[in-house]
Subunit: 235 residues, 2 copies
DNA sequence: TGTATTTTATTTGTCGACAAAAATCGCCTT
DNA sequence: AAGGCGATTTTTGTCGACAAATAAAATACA
């Protein structure tokens, strides 16, 4: 017999788990552009999809709205938040600065166990590059830098940085085709250098490397935008 | 007849307004330490206090939890988030950097109408100093710097900065008695200098002034902590 | 008397239903 | 035929109630 039956079927869900399930899944679908910006979010549709009441769905949506991933206009439809292409420099400014700050702090405050996590993330990123899996590259790259931020041990910075990395995932996901050139290997090498200076606790070098790394990524993204012709997505 | 009676009394509340009312009020009470850290939050108590169901209360609490103002442990009580005195340097690091970044960006990107808002906030702060109203000083000082951040026009930075300013309000509120010395007037003067360099679009000077201003505030807070004996509040 | 176990009580998470706002559709008037 | 007006439908916000999970109290036992 299969393992799907315990007593009757499997309608048993632990008490507080419903919201987290729908929150995590919706979040992933938004960040991976399975739900592209502007997609309408229907509460009852989600309710019957997850086989639960509207209440936990609603709570998940409130959380997502708090993070700016969905927009809710009162008494009216709620939809996936748009990516703001007009003020993209705003995003780049914040991204570059957070790259620098988090990497610098990681060099100053990391503990040995942090390095293991960072190296594990880097290995996953390198594997994604070898496999030429662009989707995995995007996700593992974000995870790598998020691990560095965690090692910096400043929750205010890690909170903001993770939000920026999420937004970056959505932007890169739009143009992930272009990841199939020789640039990813360069990113792998730069990541290795960053790990080295973090381990050496060289804050200045970490700052310099992070800045160069971030600005190269920004240049890459901007080149992609220029090539693809700015806006190919509905506002 | 009075204006309080339309039909029976005044149970009429507009449809989507309940959550905002609860959210705003609870937020203010938390930031002003009317609800000190660790205070239990009772849903049914709030429900009967605001004369509404638990549902909108719950949504407001989810929003507040998303901003880190309350802590919710699953299936168990929810309470006002504690101020993390152990990792206070973490807060100071973030605060100093955000002071610098937002002031620098304001010097670069502000528009004429921004300056009017900033000057208005500065006038309110100066009035609070003259009136020796410590509570008003704390609030108007935060509003002043928030206005500068808005002029910098980077929503990622303003979001983080506003959160830091909120946390700073709670910390300063703990020790607001010490505000009754001659330091506030110095803050007023420094604010004036900051406005001047922003208006002159001198980004480097803005950065320098903001850094000095922030570090002086940090030093002031740390002195307060040393004098008061570190921890006089329940963890 | 102290500790373990059962019982009660309190509080949270979830549900189904109802009511208010908009949007959509249909009808009427000009 | 075009546009305005009213009715219907759809979707959201709110409510009261119920059930699970945990804490507190009461009881049993050594």
């Amino acid at each position: 017999m299969s393992d799907s039956d315990t007593s009757n079927s499997m309608p048993e869900r632990k008490r507080g788990s419903g919201v987290k399930v729908v929150y995590d899944l919706l979040r992933d679908e938004i960040l991976d552009l399975v739900l592209p910006p502007g997609s309408p979010i229907d509460e009852v549709q989600l309710a019957e999809r997850f086989k639960m009441s509207r209440t936990p769905i609603r709570e998940a949506l409130v959380r997502l709205a708090g993070e700016g991933l969905i927009d809710t206009l009162p008494n009216r439809s709620t939809m996936v938040a748009n990516i703001n292409f007009l003020n993209l420099h705003t995003f780049f400014d914040a991204l570059v600065l957070m790259y620098r700050v988090t990497t610098r702090l990681a060099a100053q405050h990391h503990r040995p166990e942090d390095l293991e996590v960072i190296r594990a993330r880097q290995a996953e990123f390198a594997a994604a590059v070898r496999a030429q899996d662009a989707l995995a590259m995007i996700a593992t790259n974000a995870a790598f830098h998020s691990a560095i931020a965690e090692a910096g041990r400043n929750p205010y910075f890690t909170g903001l940085f993770n939000r920026l990395l999420d937004e970056g995932r959505r932007i890169l996901r739009l143009y992930y085709q272009s990841y199939d050139d020789r640039l990813p290997q360069r990113f792998v090498d730069e990541h290795e250098e960053m790990i080295a200076v973090i381990a050496a606790r060289d804050a200045e070098a970490a700052d310099r490397l992070a800045r160069a790394h971030a600005e190269q990524i920004v240049a890459q993204i901007q080149k992609l935008f220029a090539r693809t012709g700015r806006l190919d997505l509905a506002l």
